[in-house]
């Protein structure tokens, strides 16, 4: 067996029988992805329509087209409407099997229209990657027994890859001294201005106080976070996955406390894909509801 086939065994678990709990969990997870897809489409669409006036930073396809056309004539809102309709249809398996791919393309356009103002947020990336994995799964692995495993396995693959990639981006961007605690001081002060500006008030919490008092404490905080990113790819192994996931969730709580950056959808998604929830559901249901069979 080749090395990548071994990773495939860990991600897709080909030897394990499909259970009712697995299918129910899969549709619940898909519902979570659809909910955030529609929410983001409207949040971005409304902001684009009412706030964006000119392109400051072109991202993605905005490098090759004039994305400012989405700022007027309600085009961003129409796009949000289309994303909503297509997502719901795709959820219920109505329409062609490439419908999720259309949602992916429209959502990309919605993102680059909204975030053409200079900010490059990442908290919505996991939802975007999930839509992509649903798109590829629905198109190339539409069979009921295959699609759930491919979708969840590929999502886990790209989550793990993303964290480890973030580790190397820091190593290349700054060097081995990235974890110097004084770097955290700069970020805490920068984020404190954001909070003060957004809300009019700011007060440091206990973790920020601790980091600002001691370079050693600040360095340890950064080092723990950086190391956790490095081992992100260990999510690929099913036995280690819950441990890695727990460490990653802890890291996100640390980022929220130290730098006031929240990753709600990110963390909920980690909780959903990082643990074998289907085992819990299997304890309560013995057969797959007919309606779930219809929607897989």
């Amino acid at each position: 067996m080749k090395w990548y086939e071994k990773i495939g065994v860990q991600l897709f678990e080909p030897g394990r029988e499909q259970t009712p709990g697995e299918l129910v969990f899969f549709k619940l997870f898909e519902l979570f992805v659809i909910y955030y897809t529609i929410k983001f489409a409207w949040d971005w669409g409304l902001y684009t329509q009412f706030r964006n006036t000119e392109v400051v930073l072109p991202l993605g396809v905005a490098n090759y087209m004039d994305i400012s056309i989405f700022f007027e004539h309600n085009i961003a809102l129409i796009n949000a409407g289309l994303i909503s309709i297509f997502s719901i249809a795709a959820y219920f398996r109505k329409g062609p099997k490439w419908l999720y791919m259309v949602v992916m393309v429209l959502l990309h356009i919605q993102y680059v229209a909204r975030f053409s103002q200079g900010e490059i947020p990442h908290s919505q990336n996991l939802i975007g990657m999930s839509v992509l994995c649903f798109a590829v799964g629905a198109w190339f692995f539409p069979e009921k027994k295959i699609m759930p495993r491919f979708v969840l396995g590929s999502i886990i693959f790209f989550i793990g890859l993303g964290y480890t990639s973030a580790f190397f981006a820091k190593l290349i961007g700054t060097g081995i001294n990235w974890y110097d605690g004084r770097h955290l001081w700069l970020w805490i002060s920068e984020k404190s201005i954001d909070i003060l500006s957004r809300e009019g008030v700011y007060s440091a919490n206990f973790l920020q106080e601790l980091a600002l008092k001691s370079t050693v404490a600040a360095s340890i905080i950064l080092l723990i976070g950086w190391f956790t990113e490095l081992i992100g790819f260990t999510m690929w192994w099913k036995k280690i996955r819950p441990i890695t996931t727990t460490l990653l969730i802890g890291m996100h709580i640390g980022i929220t406390l130290s730098m006031n950056i929240r990753f709600d959808a990110f963390v909920i998604q980690l909780i959903l894909v990082g643990y074998p929830w289907y085992k819990v559901i299997d304890q309560y249901i013995k057969s797959t509801p007919a309606i779930i069979h219809k929607w897989i």
Binding site: V56, L57, V136
Partner: protein
Amino acid sequence: MNKEYSKKGMKVIGVIFVIFALLVAPHEGEFWPFSIYPMFSQAGNPWTRAMVIDVTDHDTDEIWEAHSLENLRGNPVPVGKYGVDQIDYSNFMSKTRNWTEPRRMALIQMFGSENIGSQRWMASKVHGKMVGEDSVAVIVQPFLLFTADSVYMNPLLDESEYFRGGN
């Protein structure tokens, strides 16, 4: 799922990964939802953010000097209350190279004349950097004073601060 499909699944992931690499490589690591997650990768650099400060109750001759965060001239205006994204506002302030008339008036448009009312608000840049080995210095630089219908540039700053050329 059998082993054959598992193998095929990994090959499809491999194809997605290649597309991922081809898209992010020429786009500075970002092609949503693909990303190499470069946030916070360049540590230790000075930063610039922005705030709005309500200077209605302060005399005009005392509002233009740069000052520390502890000596703010007036109270911070919570921009989120007016539906403005703080990061977008910061980028608007720090990345604008030429403060032309339309660009200055866009500041009023951003917050809405009706929200500004009879108040005088100062759009300030906030600079942070390491000083020595063990402290961060934060300086607030008043930049544009704006009311419901007018925007004024800081008379203490050189014109080159407002018109830096290029796009």
